[in-house]
């Protein structure tokens, strides 16, 4: 197991505003440098299972900058099709496919899907495994928390793919 293994935490909520509250609490931890995250997003899954990203953590002290690779990484893991619309632009079929393949082969996709039932809100955070306790304590309103892991090598590959894609876009 690689040292830089990441935790992928999905916290599910009955109420959207309580999800937002916890989302803000995690962002504050990041701002206060209590934890280091790859990315945090706030999502809503409708009754048909369609996911919408309500908010990303990218505005942290960097208002107005382009959506970062960290958020793209989180979104890609959770819902690859959303990458195009939400995170890094519309012309990234290749990297979307890489995320989809990883989800399928590692089994993380199934776990993440089950973690957030239709009709619920969720906070999804990817961070170094060492920060698990701190993040867990911040998510006081979650009714269900599920954690999956992604190994360091896979994480690096997926992030690199995203970075390349974004660089190409920014071109």
């Amino acid at each position: 197991m690689s040292d830089d293994q990441k935790d992928v935490l999905i916290a599910a909520y009955l109420f959207e505003d309580l999800a937002k509250k916890d989302f803000d609490a995690v962002l504050k931890l990041v701002k206060d440098k209590a934890i280091t995250v790859e990315g945090v997003v706030l999502v809503q899954k409708d009754e048909k299972g369609e996911v919408e990203v309500s908010e990303t953590g990218d505005h942290l002290g960097r208002k107005g900058v382009k959506v970062g690779a960290g958020v793209g990484f989180v979104v890609g893991l959770f819902a690859p099709p959303l990458l195009a619309a939400t995170a890094v632009g519309a012309a990234l079929g290749g990297v979307t496919g890489k995320f989809a393949k990883h989800r399928l082969e590692s089994g993380i996709g199934k776990k993440m899907d089950a973690a957030l039932p239709p009709g619920s809100g969720g906070v999804i955070a990817v961070y170094d495994s060492g920060g698990a306790d701190t993040v867990d304590k911040a998510l006081v309103n979650a009714v269900k928390k599920s954690v999956a892991q992604i190994d360091g090598i896979s994480a690096r590959k997926l992030k690199a793919g995203l970075a390349e894609a974004q660089a190409g876009m920014g071109g």
Partner: protein, 798 residues
């Protein structure tokens, strides 16, 4: 034949003596047309509408100061009389048995509920022929009679087309029945019984049982009047509301959005204030305190407060709809010009509001009934799983609210359903409306009244004697006291002066204003083995249970226990209780819980059940007992190309199983009460032609809720397998039935919801259940004991 000439004391009434003259031919013969006339009701006899709601509390309806809008109850109260000291038995079937027979519930075999017949006279769940219901008297005296809605007086094991039907409504005084036989029903997917036939689950998309029940009642009233212009009628309108599952459309629940955000503690304070303003409780009545078992609202976190508030919003909408439907029936009677001479008795609740949802409430009441413990956290997660708060009240869940809402609904009293020792379990609102007879409008009647008084009151009101014989069987006199005397006189001295109460060991004795409470030290929703050990034979001495004494004329709410000040009264009432208990077959105490304490019926001999053709709507209590051990389901099929559909299915996604064909494969889905789902499928497509398929469940061990391995076979070849981690220990559903060749009602596996009932497109020749394939005698005995206990547990909460 004149009224006076009819001997109504023996039913059926003998044919009148021929008063004409008969010769060899018509020449000289004199007709007597009276000899072919039907028996007339007493002259001027009123129609009677008896309304009973379910699991509802004294402090719920607006007419009694509650937060739930009940314009019909309020309207009838304003135009008639409000009784604020009316009592039930504190449990469903017992109250219903007492109501329609006019006798104490134990005497007529209903110390417990219909699902669980026990081996003692007071607990047999069998209405005795010498205590026939009063509708039988009305029916035999010229009335048209009908019952709509919940019945709950037919034991589980006789609810099929093979009968016997002598404990079904048609045999007990009702010309017509439309409703359900058991203790509860889904509001969107009931299994409807019409007379002696299961007509199944309605397939209309917008079907809602409470609305349909009013439709049917009105249709029946119109039909009766169309065919008998003067015949009086008796209608028993017995709502399934507000028993769980609490289900209602959002147009009703949304009316209460944010109305319960203040929580149960504050709600009680608001309710008691309104009760005093309305005069339904005395101005000096004291609000009883919150029991330690209930959490303070302010101690709850945001998730729980909001979930609980939603639970009550749905419950309130559900109740308001029920009252609205009673109003539709009243309006129809008025439109027919018959409201003036219709005696309406509207009873809000067959016992106090139900605390059986436990403190958390539950997304699926069957988890509680099966004794599956779920934590607060799990309840929240499962609520989330099945659609969140938006889905609470829909058919995605079988919800029941928190016990604390029930307690608040029984305001200003203590406790609730099951607790016969206290007013929270026993006292319910009642209004009586009869413009022809009642002069005073909006009056309050404080006389002690009890559910056994209703039958005698109705018979007196219509002018009929209690029959001494029915169908040749000598009848026991009714135990109740008519309260007709109180209609004209608010200050009349009460005539029902003493009454015992007993349900599940919780006891009370009322006499001349004094009330002895003798509660068994068990919180109603606690049914775990450790708790029950304390009440085992030889361990529990009911004499040692703590007693409380109240003098109700000075203490309306049972707030001041005066047992210490009146030890002689305590002893007097204790003694009286034991005498009454003996007289009315209450003994042995806990006679409805024999399954827990080593007294079990003989082990059933039948272990194989064969269903030919397309048998449908097998009552949930009559399916093969596949619980807690290995079993197999085998089916002989004729499979055409592209076949799909259900081979056999029981209940729905909140508990049940389905063996079906989809995408060419044999599949088996098992829902562990909506908590977990387990699926298995064949690895290869099914062949066509004559095929035998089989599902074998090999239990890990014959033990409660055992896990086990599933193997699917096609023509004896294994084709797929998988595991079920947990199985349902006692019962999949309180109402949903089993079907061969389709899955009626809600689907077990929601993957075929769009094709429901997903009828098999091939032919199901037969399905065979083998429920006892691998057991040793010792295992069989152990499981039998467990099942009896589990069923008793279910029965307590039904």
């Amino acid at each position: 034949m004149s009224d006076e000439a009819i001997d109504r004391t023996k039913l059926p009434i003998r044919r009148p003596q021929f008063q004409g003259k008969v010769e060899r031919t018509l020449d000289g013969s004199q007709p007597d047309w009276n000899s072919i006339a039907p028996i007339p009701a007493p002259k001027g006899a009123p129609n009677v509408l008896l309304v009973l709601t379910d699991d509802a509390g004294f402090g719920n309806p607006s007419g009694f100061g509650g937060p739930i809008s009940t314009p019909t109850l309020d309207r009838l109260g304003k135009g008639g009389l409000t009784y604020n000291r009316f009592h039930t038995t504190a449990l469903c079937s017992p109250t219903r048995a007492a109501l329609i027979t006019g006798r104490n519930h134990h005497t007529v075999g209903f110390g417990m509920i219909g699902e669980f017949a026990g081996p003692f006279p007071g607990y047999s769940a069998t209405l005795p022929k010498d205590c026939m219901p009063f509708p039988k008297t009305l029916q035999g005296n010229g009335y048209s009679t009908a019952c709509f809605g919940k019945w709950h007086l037919t034991p589980d094991n006789v609810q099929g087309p093979s009968g016997p039907f002598d404990r079904w409504p048609n045999a007990l005084g009702f010309d017509y029945f439309w409703g359900f036989l058991g203790g509860e029903s889904g509001q969107f997917d009931p299994v409807i019984i019409e007379n002696n036939t299961a007509i199944g689950v309605p397939e209309e998309d917008d079907f809602y049982f409470p609305d349909a029940m009013a439709d049917k009642t009105i249709e029946w009233l119109h039909g009766v009047r169309a065919h008998g212009s003067e015949k009086p009628w008796f209608a028993y309108f017995s709502t399934g509301c507000s028993h769980a599952p609490h289900q209602v459309g959002t147009d009703w629940s949304e009316k209460y959005k944010d109305k319960f955000d203040q929580g149960w503690d504050k709600l009680r304070e608001e309710t008691v204030q309104r009760q005093k303003e309305r005069g339904v409780i005395p101005a000096d009545a004291e609000l009883t305190p919150r029991p330690e078992a209930m959490p303070a609202w302010d101690s709850l976190d945001a998730n729980h407060q909001r979930l609980y508030a939603r639970q009550m919003e749905v419950y309130a909408g559900y109740c308001e709809n029920a009252d609205w439907n009673v109003g539709r029936v009243i309006d129809a009677i008025e439109e027919m010009g018959e409201l003036e001479n219709t005696l309406v008795i509207y009873i809000w609740g067959d016992n106090g509001a139900s605390m059986e949802g436990t403190l958390t409430g539950t997304f699926n009441e069957l988890t509680t009934l099966n004794g599956v413990p779920l934590t607060d956290e799990q309840q929240l997660q499962l609520t989330l799983k099945w659609g969140g708060l938006e889905a609470w009240g829909t058919d995605m869940m079988g919800p029941h609210y928190s016990a604390a809402w029930a307690w608040a609904g029984n305001c200003p009293f203590r406790w609730g359903k099951q607790v016969a020792s206290h007013l929270g379990g026993t006292r319910d609102p009642m209004v009586v409306h009869w413009p022809t007879r009642i002069a005073e409008q909006g009056g309050l009647r404080p006389q002690f009244t009890h559910v056994i008084d209703v039958g005698p009151t109705i018979l007196e009101a219509v002018g009929l004697p209690q029959p001494t014989h029915i169908d040749g069987v000598e009848q026991q006199p009714m135990h109740g006291t008519s309260f007709l005397y109180s209609l004209d006189d608010a200050a009349a001295a009460e005539q029902h002066t003493q009454q015992y109460f007993e349900i599940l060991g919780n006891r009370a004795m009322y006499k001349d204003g004094w009330w002895l409470s003798w509660m068994m030290p068990r919180i109603p929703w606690e049914l775990d083995p450790e708790t029950l050990k304390r009440f085992a034979p030889g361990v529990w001495d009911p004499e040692t249970d703590p007693v409380e004494l109240y003098y109700l004329p000075d203490d309306f709410t049972q707030a001041k226990n005066v047992a210490d000040q009146h030890p002689e009264k305590v002893e007097e009432l204790k003694k009286l209780f034991w005498e009454e208990a003996e007289r009315y077959d209450v003994f042995p105490l806990l006679g409805g819980l024999t399954g827990f304490f080593g007294m079990r019926p003989p082990i059933p001999k039948q272990s194989q059940f064969t269903y030919y053709g397309d048998v449908q709507n097998i009552a949930s209590g009559m399916i093969p007992q596949i619980y807690n051990h290995s079993y197999t389901i085998s089916a002989d099929l004729e499979i055409p190309e592209g076949a799909e559909g259900v081979i056999v299915a029981e209940a729905d996604h909140l508990g049940g199983f389905s063996l079906f064909v989809q995408d060419g494969k044999l599949r088996h889905t098992y829902s562990f009460l909506g908590v977990q789902e387990f699926r298995q499928e064949s690895e290869t497509p099914l062949p066509t032609g004559s095929v035998n398929v089989r599902m074998e469940f090999a239990a890990d061990a014959p033990k409660p809720a055992t896990g086990g391995e599933v193997t699917l076979f096609v023509d004896d070849e294994p084709v797929g397998s998988g595991r079920i981690e947990h199985t349902v220990p006692a019962r999949f559903s309180g109402y949903a039935g089993m079907d061969i060749g389709r899955d009626n009602g809600l689907p077990v596996d929601r993957s075929y919801v769009d094709k429901s009932p997903f009828a098999f497109t091939g032919k199901v020749k037969k399905v065979v259940f083998d429920v006892n394939p691998h057991l040793t005698e010792e295992h069989e005995q152990e499981l039998h004991e467990h099942l009896e206990q589990a069923l008793a547990g279910h029965a307590i909460n039904a």
